[in-house]
Amino acid sequence: MTTVPFDEALTRYEPVIGLEVHVELGTQSKMFCSCSTNFGAEPNTQVCPVCLALPGAMPVANRAAIESIIRIGLALNCSIAEWCRMARKNYFYPDMPKDYQISQYDEPICTNGYLDVTVDGEVVRVEIERVHMEEDTGKLLHAGGATGRIRGADYSLVDYNRAGIPLVEIVTKTVVGTGALAPAVARAYVTELRDLMRALGVSDVKMEEGSLRCDANLSLNRPGDPWGTRTETKNVNSLRSVERAVRFEIERQAAVLDAGGRVHQETRHFQEEDGTTTPGRSKEQAEDYRYFPEPDLVPIAPSREWVEELRLTLPEQPSVRRARLALAWGIGDFEVATLVNAGVLDIVEETVAAGVAPDAARKWWSGEFTRAASERGVEPADLPVTSAHIARVEELIASGALNDKLARQVFEGVLAGEGSPDEVVAARGLAVVSDDGPLLEAIDAALAEQPDVAEKIRSGKLQAAGAIVGAVMKTTRGQADAGRVRALLLERLGVEG
């Protein structure tokens, strides 16, 4: 595929972007029935007459889902409709049990909002066209064949567990004038939206599990010209991919236009491996979904009182919160973003509140515990370690009873279910050796083993001391205070530290 280098493309064309984000709500039950929404259950075990579309079954709207979408709309500064209806989107596909999707068409529940995002220190306002609710489809699994795609498959299986899970679709207005920042703005928007959903507690927003899915629309036009034809890129499954997909489409469309060609209005698929997009379904002949108001459901008319009650439940905006924490902890945007991306911001804040220094709290959660969590396949916050545990260990470090290495061993014990830090310390016999006698013995032994190193230190090459300190730490199985060992060593050799 021919492409034009990104910077060059932007000398001739202006990008226009638009983003459609689908968020799976974390409600207990599905949008129109009481089936569970748990991820990863055996195929077709979380189904009932309603979400299998058995003849005669009828949908009933989930109040918790409507509550979530109203909160999302309010957090995105939208107007909340006083009266709106669901609509049927008609098309045949085997992953959709009714062969129509219950969605919203010309009466979305939330309209005309915005979300501010910061890119390179600049605030960009992304305007929201609409937020509406709909139901998810089932999942197709194509068996046999090489690609796992429908073409070439021997047969296909359908899992309807996902069918009917509440989905919220958030559609931006076209975002213009971002120039070379377009890919970064797209990424920043999806990131901000993800953080907002997390703060609202309405979804687990895991792109890799599909609970947040993004379609990126892009067109190019020469300055002063009307907007060009847009493509819609799907299969964008990570924040990085959002940025790469937009960037690639700019490069690709610029090449098409440079060659005098025209961009086809089509759905494209992002390819994770090489960062390109490939053509999918053509949208030249717009599909006719024959939308009409869903007659099996009554209109939704949220009372103003209810909307205002829900407004009171909105959390602090993530951007405001990040700025507050960065200031309080004396760190930069990048460090805060790292905590957000690791999913530990809440627990770090909690740990700091428990009396731990911000740096220590950050260090533990984004290092040790993130690793432990990913090994166990759980969220850091779900580990058996608490902020009180961390506070206690930090106290022991401060008093000199533990060093960093021992502290890690304490947490190993805590994570292994051996009890509280104090219990682990007692059971494993973990304590810094504070008696100088054994340390001096170990130092002498090490010096005897490495006379050349001893000589270097004596001659003033203090950096060589590390080898001896290391050897001592090893013989004491880490239970010595390294600083104390170094001081004793230098004293022994009569060298000024």
Binding site: P49, A53, L54, P59, N90, F92, D99, D288, F292, P295
Partner: protein, 496 residues
């Protein structure tokens, strides 16, 4: 007593008194079905074992001294459009052949809770599209009054089962007249309750905004008892009304129209109405006047557009409701030989599984909802619907109930109109406005047309949640007619 000719309330009382067992009553009906249904073809499926087991449970309850409901132990014929756990449910279509529902419709649950004995599933036009049962994929039902004639439709099976004394109670569904028109042409009673009064959960949808389940019987009181057993809110149907059900049984027992204002709908008479139908209707109006009703003429000017609007709204909704019959999850699947795509299998299944009338309406509806045509067809039809509702609202400001002939003609011959869809559709001209507006109506027999000796029905219409008015007026008229005839008209039906 006569186990198959007596009314449901009489049978229920006898069962409660221990004069007869539910099992005896049930077996009598199963025998009757075995004797006559080969000629009538009211039933698609008879669940003899299930019926007898249900009857035995009622008898055991009675034996244990438990209090029984007012229809306990009485057999009933269920229209095959309602899901019944463990029993074939086809909606009269080949596409559902072999499907056994794993769940009960809300109405079936209520029938079971009322200890009503379900004999089996009755024939109907495919997916309730039709006025004659000729569009059933399993062959037509024959009118017990004249086996060469249609029993009405779509619920012809339920009406014929009543008229042939195969069941004293039946359940129908009414989207444009499918309870009332069959009642009219078989001399039985049928009610389309207020939209939302009876839960639709488990009713295989034709047109969701028009469909309503309702009671059918051979007299007004039995109809009211069945109405009371099935009506009331169900949270699984969000269009179901969450309010107290009008006391229809008390209304049926209070057969009195003195002082009641009765409106004669000017637009539902005259041209197109068979002379004998009009004659019996005029006589019934005279009786109502004699009984003390205040009969006035009322105009509903937008009713003339009802049929056109109905034949846009219904096909639009049904084109979507019937999409799920794609061969993927249940029922028929055609062409799945490993060489065809999923789209081809869906298309072949629907081609083979749906009959011509169903295909016709799906195509009309698909067209009417298409982008570019939506406003002109579906949108315009919805506006007409609003105007018709307004006609009713204004009329009910002046009168308590409205009346008209139920159907413009008596039962026509099987085959007579099957190739002329518009002639078939015109049968429902008087019944459709009620479905569009969502209010309620009853059809009850008012005599035989002199020219052909076939039953004529009168329709009573009331405002939403005014279902009790239907029963009060209907019971009064029925009582006056029974006085005149010495018995219910249905007792004159030919012996089979």
């Amino acid at each position: 007593m006569n186990l198959i000719r007596d009314n449901a309330s009489v049978l229920a009382a006898a069962i409660a008194e221990g004069e007869v067992s539910s099992e005896e009553v049930t077996r009598a009906h199963l025998d009757r079905i075995a004797a006559v249904d080969e000629r009538v073809h009211a039933f698609l499926h008879v669940d003899a074992d299930g019926a007898i087991a249900a009857a035995k449970r009622v008898d055991a309850k009675r034996g244990a001294g438990e209090k029984l409901g007012p229809l306990a132990g009485v057999p009933l014929a269920l229209k095959d459009v309602l899901a019944m756990k463990g029993q074939p449910t086809t909606a009269g279509s080949k596409i559902l052949e072999g499907w056994i529902p794993p769940y009960d419709a809300a109405v079936v649950e209520r029938l079971r809770a009322a200890d009503i004995v379900i004999l089996g599933k009755t024939n109907m036009d495919e997916f309730a599209m039709g006025s004659s049962t000729e569009h059933s994929a399993y062959g037509p039902t024959h009118n017990p009054w004249d086996l060469d004639r249609i029993p009405g439709g779509s619920g012809g099976g339920s009406a014929a089962a009543l008229a042939a004394f195969e069941a004293p109670l039946a359940i129908g569904t009414d989207t444009g007249g499918s309870i009332r028109q069959p009642a009219a042409v078989t001399a039985t009673v049928g009610v389309k309750p207020t939209y939302g009064a009876v839960p639709r959960y488990g009713l295989i949808a034709l047109a969701s905004s028009l469909d309503q389940v309702g009671p059918c019987a051979r007299n007004v009181l039995d109809t009211a008892l069945l109405h009371a057993a099935i009506a009331g809110h169900d949270p699984r149907d969000s269009t179901s009304i969450n309010a107290a059900v009008p006391d229809v049984v008390a209304a049926a027992l209070n057969a009195d129209v003195r002082g009641m204002k009765v409106g004669l709908v000017r637009e539902l008479s005259g041209a197109g109405y068979q002379a004998g139908v009009q004659q019996r209707f005029d006589e019934a109006v005279a009786i109502l006047t004699e009984l003390g009703a205040d009969v006035v003429e009322v105009s509903c000017p937008h009713f003339e557009y009802a049929l056109a609007a109905y034949y846009l709204i219904l096909p639009s909704e049904c084109s979507s409701n019937l999409a799920r019959f794609d061969g993927m999850r249940y029922g028929l699947r055609v062409g799945d030989d490993g060489s065809r795509s999923v789209e081809e299998v869906m298309a072949l299944t629907r081609e083979a599984g749906f009959g011509p009338e169903v295909k016709r309406r799906i195509m009309i509806g698909t067209y009417a909802l298409s982008s570019g045509y939506y406003d002109a067809y579906y949108g315009q039809a919805q506006k007409v619907r609003t105007l018709i509702t307004r006609d009713f609202t204004e009329a009910f400001e002046k009168v308590d109930v409205l009346i008209s002939p139920t159907a413009p003609t008596t039962a026509f011959k099987i085959g007579e109109k099957v190739d002329d869809p518009v002639a078939m559709y015109l049968n429902d001209i008087a019944t459709i406005p009620v479905n569009l507006a969502g209010n309620c109506a009853m059809s009850l027999p008012i005599g035989l047309a002199p020219e052909d000796g076939l039953p004529v029905g009168l329709q009573i219409m009331a405002p939403p949640m005014g279902d009790d008015r239907l029963y009060r007026a209907g019971a009064a008229l029925e009582a006056a007619l029974v006085d005149r005839w010495g018995h219910l008209l249905i007792k004159e039906a030919p012996a089979l």
